[in-house]
């Protein structure tokens, strides 16, 4: 296999033999169709005219005053669908259509990727089936209803921990049985090659816009950028255009109850191994059985992480920190009240880490937070967690 399937020692293609032909077909399409002029033209049409790119880079006066540095939010919450996931869903759905596929399957945790896939399927005329753990269906009921309105079928997954990890298992199992008509539209920079590279490429528009926007507004690059890391797609899409710049890059992982309790902080507390087709950091026991993760945020509740993040951790280019459930909920309310923006619980992890890092910033330092999604989907959950104290 060519070297592009690896990020240092990480990544690769650890899948059953029956999936190999599909991955080879996909890799070929990714290499030849995606860079082609017609594909790129279609893609930029859908991103601009349909999804509403580019998204603003908003200077936040109140937060800047409060934190003592210049704070910007990259507003993926304003993208159609309400999260960055649509960038990737549109890209892969267009590619699937070019490959002659008629059916799309996807996994979802928070439901944002399921919604994005349902939207992309609706507008591009593809049938969509979304695998979702029953645990997540309960805590993200609004998104389950949205997917159904959009014409997608939601397939409940009752195996294992009934969350994102198990939804991916089920999607992989379905894919092998119906390869010829089906594309597996994976929702993050995880899975076997070429998914991690392809999803990264479709999300890099976030960082490219941010770079251009900050240079226009400030005339210089940011001092630090913060993004949350579940599988790691919004973070990688933001980070990649800044990798060779002198910009501090921070990933906020799901600290759950704290690293001594249940959490989803794979890079902070895990060890390399193989899950879902890639060699990457994982939460696992001494014998290699995968542990159940925990996070208040369904989108970060995953015991693995994209393999490119594993390399970025090892070489020290990105610093990963755990943010607890309590800190995330606190920042969910903070951003809502300070700036009038209700963030997704996932994105609230990035806000929380930024607030901690602000201590180290000077007055003129520029801090960019990737606001990966909006929080409507989480309102009911946070309200019930807060109870009467809200």
């Amino acid at each position: 296999m060519n070297d592009s399937s690896r990020f240092g020692p990480y990544g690769g293609r650890f899948v059953p033999e029956t999936l190999m032909a599909a991955l080879e077909e996909l890799e070929e399409a990714y290499r030849t169709i995606v860079p082609s002029e017609p594909f790129q033209r279609e893609m930029s049409f859908y991103l601009r005219e349909y999804a509403g790119r580019e998204t603003p880079l908003t200077f936040c006066r109140n937060m800047s005053d409060d934190l003592g540095c210049r704070v910007y939010l990259k507003r993926e919450d304003l993208l159609h669908s309400g999260a960055h996931k649509l960038n990737n869903a549109l890209g892969q759905a267009l590619l699937a259509r070019s490959m002659g596929k008629t059916r799309i399957i996807a996994e979802t945790g928070a439901g944002q990727h399921g919604v994005a896939s349902a939207i992309a399927g609706a507008v591009l005329g593809l049938n969509v089936e979304v695998f979702m753990g029953t645990e997540d269906m309960a805590r993200q009921a609004l998104n389950v209803a949205r997917m159904r309105m959009l014409g997608a079928r939601v397939v409940p997954v009752k195996s294992g921990s009934r969350t994102l990890k198990d939804a991916i298992n089920e999607a992989l199992r379905d894919w092998v049985t119906r390869l010829s008509e089906t594309h597996y539209l994976i929702g993050s920079v995880v899975g076997p090659h070429p998914f991690p590279a392809m999803v990264r490429d479709f999300q890099t528009v976030i960082g490219e816009e941010t770079r251009r926007q900050i240079l226009e507004k400030e005339g210089s690059l940011p001092d630090a950028i913060v993004a949350c890391v579940g599988g790691g797609s919004n973070a990688l899409g933001m980070f990649v255009p800044f990798l060779s710049d002198e910009v501090l890059l921070y990933g906020a992982e799901a600290g759950g109850e704290g690293l001594e309790g249940n959490h989803g902080a794979t890079l902070c507390a895990g060890r390399p191994g193989v899950l879902h087709g890639a060699y990457t950091y994982l939460l696992q026991d001494a014998f290699g059985q995968i542990l159940e993760s925990h996070s208040v945020s369904a989108g970060l509740d995953y015991p693995g992480v994209g393999p490119e993040h594993s390399l970025l951790k090892d070489c020290g280019r990105v610093l990963y920190r755990a943010v607890t459930d309590a800190e995330a909920i606190d920042s969910f309310l903070y951003l809502s009240r300070k700036e009038g923006i209700i963030p997704a619980l996932e994105s609230a992890h990035a806000v929380a880490l930024a607030r901690k890092l602000a201590v180290y910033q000077q007055k003129n330092d520029i801090l960019v937070i990737n606001l990966s999604g909006r929080g409507d989907k989480d309102v009911a959950q946070v309200a019930s967690l807060m109870g009467s104290s809200l």
Binding site: R173, L275, F287, G288, I290
Partner: protein
Amino acid sequence: MTASRIADAFQAREHPLLVACTVAGDPDYEASLGIVRELVASGGDIIELVMPFSDPVADGPVMQQAAARALSSGMNTDRLFCLIRDIRSEMDVPLIILTYANIVFQRGISRFYRDAAAAGADGVAVADVPVEEAGPFRAAAAAAGIDHILFASQTTSEERLSSITEQAGGFIYLVAAMGVTGVREEIDPGILSCVKEVKRRSGVPVVPGFGISTSGQIRAYAAAGADGVIVGSAIVGEIGGHAGDRENLLPAVRRVMNRIRPDALRED
């Protein structure tokens, strides 16, 4: 390398060999040992012992539930090798381990194969390691003097099939259904000609598995030239059905073996 039990079994065969599968520790360690005895006594020619993994993406519900039962009974890689040692102390049957990549990685690839060989296993197949990723696994198997078994399927390209047949140890595990493990009534259209093709190109025996549960299916594979068949979910489903009914567990395993055992076919 000393002559392998796997190669000897295929060389001496008078009928297609029955590779009988069970999950180590399902429903618990002691029962597993009894099940392996029963599988051998009732016509299993090779034992495929599954080391369960928490996230078995190649498996359907029957094998998933068996893995969950085994893990909750406390099965782990240390105990797997104890179980193999216990089996080896009373039986000479060829035995392979089937597992997933992370189980092997976490023990250390070399150490896993060394421990497998020392316990008495004859081969290892790793469900999520295609030939492209198999280098370190094959090297470790060679160093330990056992076989690393590779997979092929109907969708395997010409090019890839060449490298699989070149590098295969023991036998080729031909994935006979496009999907996950689980009992199927039918045979995939196209699979019989695939058996013939792989058989024509392979220097090692070719053994289909996935979805096989009837003597009719076995007859069809044998006629296409298969050197054996792997029966998994049909056996493991019986074990699951009697996990809470230990008295009838072994008789149930015997019944399913009697229904499918290929040497009985010759008397038809």
